[in-house]
Symmetry: C2
């Protein structure tokens, strides 16, 4: 048995009938034309469905907006990459010479894509039930630790709902300054809640990001949210 | 048997064990808090996976970009709504008084959402295999009639690839005029392929749309594409 198959048995608790599928799932496009991109596409869609189903079953009172946000948090690149790290995928992915040299930059994307490709490969090799078991194995921790619906909303939405719930007017946002060159601009935005005479600033690479930062600061002023 | 159950047997070729699920799948949020939004969320994710799988199997040479575009064409609102029309869903959806009065405006969205909710309901009622059969029944025509990968790319991409494939330089786009008030602007954009001394115009409600129109016109000039 190859070391790759050993790794799959240990970390995925799955034995591939077709070892070529396992190898393809681990092959980044920098290494070969026979790479994991199609498997990633397939795995991504199955992961998306299975997490939707788990959330649907486990959160009977959540509306579809809450369910969508919860799923987005589960299947986002950073979460997938951290699953990949737990699997010690770093030592298994097959990269071309360019990627090997460049190191870190693409790491998160490469790990995330490989996790999805592995799900696709198990789906083809062992069927839907096997792939579902793999998803439950890999994401059990993430699903259990998912924040509740409110915390998954962005700061502007949370601030708006908090204010509306108490009969206050909506906050106002205004751009204070824009600095830096064309594609490296920094925005500073002010958030004001008049009735509370509260003012906060936020900074970011886009107006939207700066507004979210200012809203987060305002939540922390108003209700001590970290 | 209710007329709704008759309808499902005839058009979905499926008999619900739990008729309440069928009713919920047809209930728009304007009619009841017990509506089809959660089922739509679930059905959407399953439809997305099953179409991904069908495309993966039927287009072995397509890369993941081609597969993504093909899927997007299949599961977009207009396609779902036309499936709903074929099912005569209009007569089955349960709407609140406001929606009944307002008529057409929301029609497409309501039909599309109900199609997804029906898939979710069959998934819960009869399992994955039953929902898969339903998707194959409803979308067989759409999958068979899907244009090939090239045609699913937008005109700017097709034009760029056509020019690059022949060693020509990229086209240039320039805004010729912007007219109309703030939220009803009309852009006119010129597309030029210097080496061919070819110039076309496109018009649209955004710069991007106008550029796509100009690129489509250029394709038609250069290769007679309709």
């Amino acid at each position: 048995m190859t070391s790759r198959a050993d790794w799959a048995e240990k970390h995925l608790r799955y034995t591939f009938r077709d070892p070529a599928l396992l190898e393809r799932a681990l092959t980044h496009r920098s290494a070969s034309r026979d790479n994991n991109e199609r498997l990633e596409y397939l795995g991504d869609s199955y992961l998306s469905f299975v997490t939707a189903r788990r959330l649907y079953d486990s959160r009977p009172l959540a509306d579809e907006g809450d369910l969508s946000r919860a799923r987005a948090a589960l299947v986002r690149q950073a979460t997938l990459a951290s699953v990949g790290q737990r699997l010690q995928l770093d030592a298994q992915v097959i990269l071309g010479p360019g990627e090997l040299r460049s190191g870190g930059a693409q790491r998160v994307a490469i790990l995330a894509d490989a996790v999805e490709a592995l799900i696709g490969a198990v789906l083809l090799d062992g069927g839907a039930a096997a792939a579902e078991s793999l998803i439950d194995l890999l994401f059990a921790e993430e699903i259990a630790n998912l924040p509740d619906a409110a915390a998954l909303k962005d700061p502007k939405t949370r601030l708006q709902e908090w204010l509306q719930g108490r009969g206050y007017k909506l906050p106002s946002y205004s751009v204070q300054s824009v600095s830096g060159r064309d594609h490296e601009q920094t925005f500073v935005v002010n958030c004001t809640v008049e009735e509370k005479d509260a003012h906060t600033n936020g900074q970011g690479s886009s107006r939207r990001h700066a507004e979210q930062e200012a809203a987060a600061a305002m939540l922390s002023v108003l209700i001590g949210e970290p």
